[in-house]
């Protein structure tokens, strides 16, 4: 069957199904299980209302357990078995992994990614949001900076491959090196340690727009009076920014920071497309890809490690979001 047709049918079944579920389950609750009439009418209404939230939550809870909770438990279970999955090896996948130097490289690179990318992109986002706020062409600048958000990571990597190209006729870095300083062209992606930063630049380029948009909205939400009062009190622009504006949007900054951190911990496309993990640029997700579907025991072990790293950040993110709701 034509895929378009299949897609339309799927959407139809999905949307119709959800609609039917709510109508039918509510009808079942109100008409059959706890009818709001007869001698127990008021008790039944109360009971129905206690059950109703679970009715609404049930599809989500089922979907989440099926697609999130079960895979986590399943992955952990799989990580305790050998390559072919038929022999229980306890934690030996983990011990081999921690002993491997490539894993340690990937781990520390990832730590570096998690520190640098969120801080730089949040900082730049905040700076740009503030600087463009009062400018006439600020919106144009913002749109330009936001645009990379629409590019896939692999697409962004291909663009930056040209920036980093060795051929000085293609790569701007080598064009500058050769034409302005008369140096030999070099492959910047092979320069140990620094190549990690060159790869991070790509993600920062993509993510700064996201930070900028959210923070810009937050800055606009600050009550004007607080700023006016500060001006009357004789505060200079820096004091206004750091002592009046930033403290009022701290929560938003933290949310942007943690969201970016979670993203960083799962991005593998950039490393995969740019260096394939060569030249000591390996990070955990692309390290995992090496084992995936070949040695699933090792691959799931890496996946569990990544999950353990992400969890605290995620908890922090959820707490922050909840605090903001109150």
């Amino acid at each position: 069957m034509n895929p378009v047709f299949q897609g339309l049918i799927t959407i139809g079944i999905g949307v119709g199904g959800i609609f039917l579920y709510f109508v039918a389950s509510n009808a079942l609750l109100d008409k059959v299980l706890f009818p709001a009439k007869g001698k127990n009418a008021s008790r039944n209404i109360n009971r129905a209302n206690t059950v109703r939230p679970w009715l609404f939550l049930a599809p989500t809870i089922i979907a989440l357990s099926l697609y999130l909770v079960y895979p986590v438990i399943g992955s952990f279970y799989r990580s305790l078995f050998n390559r072919s999955g038929d022999e229980f090896v306890a934690f030996s996948n983990y011990t081999t992994m921690f002993a491997s130097s490539e894993f340690r490289t990937a781990f520390w690179n990832n730590v570096l990614w998690a520190l640098v990318v969120p801080s730089v992109s949040t900082f730049l986002g905040l700076l740009i949001a503030q600087l463009t706020d009062k400018l006439r062409w600020g919106n144009i600048a913002k749109s330009l900076i936001f645009m990379p958000m629409a590019i896939s990571f692999v697409g962004a990597s291909l663009i930056w491959k040209f920036v980093y190209a060795i051929d000085p006729e293609l790569g701007i870095i080598n064009a500058i090196r050769v034409n302005m300083f008369g140096l030999d062209p070099m492959d910047v992606l092979q320069v140990a340690f620094w190549n990690n930063l060159f790869l991070m630049v790509i993600l920062i380029w993509v993510q700064t727009g996201f930070a900028m948009v959210i923070l810009s909205a937050a800055l606009r939400g600050i009550p004007e009076e607080t700023i006016e009062a500060a001006i009357i009190d004789g505060a200079n622009p820096f004091q206004i920014f750091f002592k009046i504006q930033v403290p009022q949007i701290t929560n938003t900054i933290i949310v942007v920071f943690t969201t970016t951190t979670i993203l960083v911990l799962k991005v593998f496309d950039i490393v995969y497309a740019m260096t394939g993990g060569n030249f000591n640029t390996q990070i955990l997700p692309s390290y995992m890809m090496q084992f995936m579907f070949r040695d699933d025991g090792r691959a799931t072990a890496v996946a569990i490690v990544i999950m353990l790293i992400v969890t605290p950040v995620m908890i922090q993110n959820i707490r922050q979001a909840r605090a903001e709701m109150r």
């Binding site: 069957m1 060795i166 092979q190 497309a273 394939g276 060569n278 995936m292």
Partner: protein
């Protein structure tokens, strides 16, 4: 009721639109010196009108079009529709499909090593009863081709899991004859002469080699071909086979020596265009471009027989560019003139009558000829007419293949996936960018120990 009718007519419309896309045949049936009888006989035996066959493979773009042109004849003969989809990440996709469902009907593996893994998991179907000895009977050096396609299945029993279709010869060095004539260089007959020629070119102010290992996530594979060719020229065929099966450890001095022989070309100052650093990341598809620059960025490029696809537009293989056989060492003359090659393996992933017929179709001489006539396809099929090859270059390559005395398959394609398509690749990148051969070989061997 009206609704159903619209639905049905919509489906009918889509089907009509689908068949309207059937391609024109590249060679009108009955013309030229092709084995048309084989096609007619095949067409008389099978009718799959209305059925669809899904084929996946690693070839994309123009290369995939050549295959689609071939499938058009299968469609015409049987009335079936062949849906081919090619993917650059075929190696990952097919493994994911084997675990998550969604396998095609037939898969074209660029590497038999991967097919071996999948056969062991039970994802592949052995060839039909009558086909097990097909390659022995119809291919030059057929017994070794059959061996290469024989793996243990999920039940542990050995079976033939497919048919080799499309072959590449790897032991080739490409050069531009005009440049060689102008500079007065001769085609080297031995490794010693090749090394002397490389030094000569450096002394004359040129750069002898263009080397490019870049290939996205597969970066490094071209260097594995170098090492395999060096293995065949410095060690016996038995040692080569033991190396591939890891009975000879990867860090054995014999292997380390082969790696260092590659290093003599890649790492020697002034030998590789841009230096080893550039070689490690230059895309293998762009690398040969240097041959055609004026003045040439390099004089020689070692790459398999498929590389002319990636030559700049307008370059004619056979006139503008030629190849010579990557020569053996005079010092090791007892090893003969070995040829390294590779081939794609067509395997059935879904047992249906139409897939069996499709495999039989790929075995007909006419299928090979229809690919040969489009260029860039070499066949060991003894019944395929050599006159069909489009150029003398192709014919010469085909002859290397059909007359090879010692032919060995690309070793990295036969090693387990973790080694042949990962550790070996990254190891060669490390070596090319400065790591020492022994430690690279040690690392690959320790990775191999992990999966034993």
């Amino acid at each position: 009721m009206t609704r159903t009718i619209t639905g049905v007519s919509a489906i009918a419309l889509i089907t009509v639109a689908g068949s309207a896309f059937a391609q024109d045949l590249i060679v009108p049936q009955g013309e030229g010196d092709f084995a048309w009888a084989a096609l007619e006989e095949f067409a008389a035996n099978y009718d799959f009108t209305g059925e669809t066959l899904n084929v996946t493979g690693a070839t994309t773009g123009d290369d995939a079009q050549r295959y689609r042109n071939l499938y058009a004849y299968f469609e015409q003969a049987t009335g079936a529709t062949v849906e081919y989809s090619g993917s650059e990440s075929f190696e990952q996709d097919i493994v994911i499909a084997s675990q998550a469902g969604g396998l095609p009907d037939v898969a074209l593996f660029p590497q038999p090593g991967l097919a071996k893994d999948l056969a062991a998991q039970g994802a592949l179907v052995p060839v039909a009863e009558g086909m097990t000895n097909f390659m022995v009977d119809n291919y030059a050096a057929g017994e070794s081709w059959k061996q290469l396609a024989t793996f243990p299945g999920a039940d542990g029993n050995e079976d033939v899991f497919g048919l080799f279709f499309g072959t590449d010869v790897k032991s080739l060095v490409w050069y531009v004859p005009e440049q060689f004539e102008e500079a007065g260089y001769d085609i080297p007959e031995t490794q010693e002469e090749l090394m002397a020629l490389s030094q000569q070119i450096v002394e004359d102010g040129g750069t002898p080699w263009c080397i490019g290992l870049g290939s996205g996530a597969a970066t490094g594979w071209p260097a594995t071909d170098w090492v395999e060719d060096m293995m065949l020229r410095t060690a016996s065929l038995e040692d080569y086979d033991r190396w591939v099966s890891n009975d000879l450890p990867f860090n054995d001095p014999i292997v380390v020596n082969a790696i260092e022989q590659y290093g003599m070309y890649a790492l020697t100052e002034g030998f590789a265009d841009g230096g080893p650093e550039a070689a490690a990341t230059t895309d293998f598809r762009d690398s040969p471009d240097g041959l055609f620059d004026l003045p040439p960025k390099c004089y020689m490029h070692k790459q398999a027989s498929f590389i002319p696809i990636f030559f700049p537009e307008g370059v004619e293989a056979g006139t503008d560019v030629e190849f010579f056989y990557f020569p053996p060492f005079e010092a090791n003359s007892d090893l003969g003139r070995p040829v390294l090659g590779s081939g794609g393996l067509a395997s059935v992933t879904n047992d249906r009558p139409i897939t069996t017929a499709f495999m039989e179709f790929l075995g007909t001489p006419i299928a090979h000829e229809l690919m040969m006539t489009q260029g860039q396809f070499l066949s060991p099929h003894v019944d395929a007419n050599l006159d069909i090859y489009t150029s003398d270059v192709q014919r010469a390559l085909g002859e290397i293949l059909t007359t090879a005395t010692s032919f060995r398959f690309d070793g990295s394609d036969l090693m387990p996936g973790e080694i042949g398509t990962n550790a070996f690749w990254t190891g060669m990148v490390d070596y090319t960018t400065g790591a020492d051969a022994q430690s690279v070989a040690d690392a690959i061997q320790s990775r191999w120990n992990e999966i034993k």
